[in-house]
């Protein structure tokens, strides 16, 4: 593959961002596509902002240059803006609509921005897909599958260099058998929310 595909996965520690990035990487290996995935570990894990980058195709490393993301997939609305420098006007942005308020807001050090202002800001740059991943995950049967909902939504954007079935297959291989059905529902729910 000559092309480079840059995907940014964002969210807050504990939301399953790293797991989603890992699954995306495994799917690429299965599809025989060159891939690098960067992760955040250690200090930034609990409650901190998490950003993983997945690069596919003719790439040598995992870091995405400024303004060159093909997609930003965020499990939290304000975390899109934290990574907005990686986007350009062609970037497709998917975000869950539920904010996670950091404790710095509780202690009065910070303010959480107005949610509609966040969406307006993002839409002024790039193509925005807002999805209620929290609800889709709940409906699928487990709120922790929100990350899988986001992968389903990503698969609907037509930017992955492999079929969505490969991604779904990889997801199902990486969850315990009793959760397969829930994850499949979450993935399909995410896919449909973008591809109407």
């Amino acid at each position: 593959m000559k092309r480079k595909i840059n995907i940014v996965l964002a969210g807050v520690g504990g939301q399953g961002v790293i797991t989603a990035a890992n699954i995306l990487g495994k799917a690429a290996v299965k599809a025989k596509v060159n891939v690098f995935v960067s992760e955040v570990h250690g200090m930034a894990q609990r409650g901190g902002a998490v950003n993983c980058t997945v690069r596919l195709g003719n790439v040598s490393g995992p870091l995405v240059p400024t303004g060159s993301a093909d997609a930003i997939v965020s499990l939290e609305p304000s975390e899109v803006l934290r990574n907005i420098n990686l986007s350009n006007k062609e970037t497709k942005i998917i975000t869950d609509i539920t904010p996670v308020i950091p404790f710095t807001v509780s202690t009065g050090e910070d303010e959480y921005p107005n949610i509609d202002a966040i969406f307006k800001e993002i839409s002024s740059y790039s193509k925005l897909y807002k999805i209620d991943a929290t609800k889709i995950a709940k409906d699928a049967g487990a709120i922790i599958t929100k990350n899988i909902v986001m992968l389903g939504a990503l698969a609907a954007l037509n930017i992955l260099p492999f079929k969505k079935e490969i991604l779904l297959e990889t997801i199902l291989e990486n969850v315990p058998s009793k959760f397969k059905e829930v994850n499949k529902k979450a993935f399909d729910g995410g896919f449909k929310s973008v591809k109407q």
Partner: protein, 625 residues
């Protein structure tokens, strides 16, 4: 387990750290040791995971693995195994090599027999470290052959082949990695797994005993070894020249992850150049470098942190009397600070080659984002201990702290960290602060840190009768790095039962006369314990015992036990903000109507907030699923 599959040619996705473990397994590893530290931890954790799964089935994993008390001990355990002819690996974070450096420097003199790969995981940009020292200097300092991988695949191969190089040279070698290698996933191609040797034999020889006379005899041997290492460096596949575009007199010399940025940047900018990609960076392949220098009129050197390649290449050019332009740190094109990324390399190349930058102007968002600094988890027992200590002596106490989760107590509203250097420094600096200021001192360290390097300063405090309160936050795990066991746990890294060493027994043995053992879940009693310790003239130790909430809740869930969550009775709440403003649990938040609430998703059910609420407005709610 996929990582143990003996299917040569198969491709699997591995984290850089897992790839190092796989490389060691392919090489027939016998002994692996570590003290955990980000970004190195998953190397050892993968050994531990494998070992524990074998132990569970009453089988032998084929290798011995331990989480040693500290990096120095880890290097000595694996070093002796290697001297006895076994293949060994020791991994640690960069600052861990400071702890192990006493052993390392002399180990290089005596050399070894079985291959020994020492992994140093450096952390440019200090993602999770107290400094960003460049451990490539340790290779030069100690005289260690060094390999520097760029990708997980290379990390696996360099580990595997590193054992052969180590055995050929009869010297331990350094595998120097950085966060952006350790924590990057990539495809790796599996090779055949070699059988371990299992049993070593120690050959008695006066050469192993570094008396001054032997040391004088060994030093020339070390230099001779480096000459042989240079020959390997000349022919290894890890050092190579890549041609990009048309023939050119421009050259780039690079190593480690910087190579990845360089390769993409020159391809994208369509620059005609040749790249000397160095994988074995000590000793440098001098002949290869000289030929490269001679073939260029301009050379750019791209390496993170210190100008180690740059200085050596300049020296070679000077000795050659070669008039070439060398671009790098000294010309201001690259920084000695922080990790590099594609933008930094592209920007520097555009400047040097006078090209229009490919980097798109970043979007400038007008919205100010809230910060999300890492915080002590909801329910963390350390928060309760800090709160209690603060209550005991609210004014003019100095709080030296240490490396671990509890460093996060520095943040508002607790602000319980005043001085931090490195592992174990809390108690040593406590002694100095007491001498210098005469102030009350309460220092803090975790249980794993206590065993790592917290004991000698306690002995120092006893012997010199320093008036300090030293706190051990005993949460029964090495929490920050991923919940590894330590000498205070009743199992080891292979999942076998182990002798549990009690902190109180050790400090008693050190001669501490005033020991307080307290449970931070009882905040009132813990405050009293700190008060008593502060009143005692001379050194005292407070041991605050409560398991890490993450582990405790994980165990509860496994056993089907219910985890309670707490809620606030809005009728009783007077908005005094004690829970948010003084205690600072991240599960608490202000609602839009200024009411205080508890996020049920985040609450871990510790009940500490109910204990500190002056109006009894917080109570247990329904059961969390």
């Amino acid at each position: 387990m996929e990582i143990l599959e003996d299917k040569p040619g198969k491709q699997i996705l591995l984290l850089g750290n897992e790839a190092i473990t796989r490389g060691a397994i392919e090489a027939g590893i016998d002994v692996a040791t570590t003290y955990p530290g980000t970004p190195s931890s998953e190397i050892a954790d993968t050994f531990s995971l494998i070992a524990r799964s074998f132990t569970k089935q009453n089988k032998d994993p084929g290798f011995y693995f331990e989480y040693s008390t500290n990096e120095k001990v880890a290097l000595e355990v694996a070093g002796a195994a290697s001297i006895s002819g076994l293949r060994s690996l020791t991994c640690m974070k960069h600052v861990g090599l400071n702890v192990a450096s006493d052993t390392f420097m002399t180990y290089m003199y005596i050399g070894t027999r079985g291959g020994h790969v020492i992994v140093s995981a450096d952390d440019p940009s200090c993602h999770s470290s107290q400094n960003e020292q460049d451990n490539r200097y340790f290779a030069l300092f100690g005289g260690a052959p060094m390999l520097e991988p760029s990708t997980p695949q290379e990390a696996k191969e360099m580990t595997r082949i590193g054992f052969d190089i180590s055995e050929e040279l009869k010297s331990p070698i350094l595998l120097r990695t950085t966060t952006r290698l350790n924590h990057v996933r990539g495809a790796i191609t599996l090779e055949k797994i070699k059988k371990p040797r299992k049993k070593g034999d120690f050959e008695k020889n006066p050469m192993w005993v570094t008396t001054p006379a032997i040391a004088r005899a060994r030093h020339p041997e070390l230099l001779k070894m480096l000459e042989n290492a240079e020959k390997i460096s000349e022919k290894t596949k890890f050092n190579k020249i890549l041609k990009i575009g048309k023939e050119s007199d421009w050259g780039i010399i690079t190593s480690g992850v910087s190579f990845n940025y360089v390769k993409e940047a020159v391809e994208d900018l369509k620059i005609d150049v040749k790249i000397l990609k160095l994988g074995m960076t000590h000793p440098l392949p001098k002949k290869m470098c000289i030929d490269f220098i001679k073939s260029c009129k301009n050379i750019i050197i791209v390496e993170e942190l210190e100008p180690i390649l740059e200085n050596q290449i300049k020296q070679m050019a000077y000795e050659l009397g070669c008039k070439i332009n060398i671009f790098g740190k000294s010309t201001g094109h690259f920084s000695r600070l922080f990790e590099y990324n594609p933008d930094i390399v592209i920007t520097a190349f555009c400047k040097i080659f006078k090209k229009k930058s490919l980097i798109k102007k970043p979007k400038d968002s007008k919205i100010k984002l809230p910060s999300r600094p890492p915080a002590l988890c909801p329910g963390c027992p350390h928060r309760a201990t800090y709160y209690a200590a603060k209550k005991a002596q609210p004014k003019s106490v100095i709080y030296p702290t240490d490396i671990g989760c509890y460093t996060l107590g520095r943040a508002k509203p607790l602000e319980m960290a005043d001085l931090l250097l490195c592992m174990g420094s809390n108690a040593g600096t406590a002694c100095g602060l007491a001498v210098a200021t005469g102030s009350k001192i309460i220092s803090f360290m975790g249980d794993s840190t206590f065993f790592h390097s917290g004991i000698p300063p306690i002995i120092n405090a006893v012997h010199h009768n320093h008036d300090v309160v030293i706190t051990v936050l005993d949460n029964r795990t090495t929490a920050m790095t991923g919940h590894q066991p330590h000498p205070g746990t009743d199992f080891d890294g292979m999942g076998r039962p182990a002798k549990k060493i009690l902190v109180e027994d050790v400090v008693k043995g050190c001669g501490i006369k005033h020991i307080e053992i307290t449970d931070p879940d009882n905040i009132k009693e813990t405050t009293e314990a700190f008060k008593r310790a502060l009143e005692f003239k001379g050194p005292s130790v407070v041991i605050s015992k409560s398991p890490c909430i993450i582990l405790e809740n994980r165990d509860k869930r496994k056993q089907g036990e219910e985890i309670p969550i707490y809620e606030i009775d809005q009728e009783k709440c007077r908005r005094c903000k004690t829970c948010i403003g003084r205690f600072g649990c991240p599960a608490l938040y202000f609602g839009e109507d200024e009411s205080v609430n508890i996020d049920p998703q985040q609450c871990n059910g510790c009940g500490h907030c109910a204990l500190i609420c002056p109006f009894g407005a917080i109570h247990k709610k329904e059961v969390k699923k």
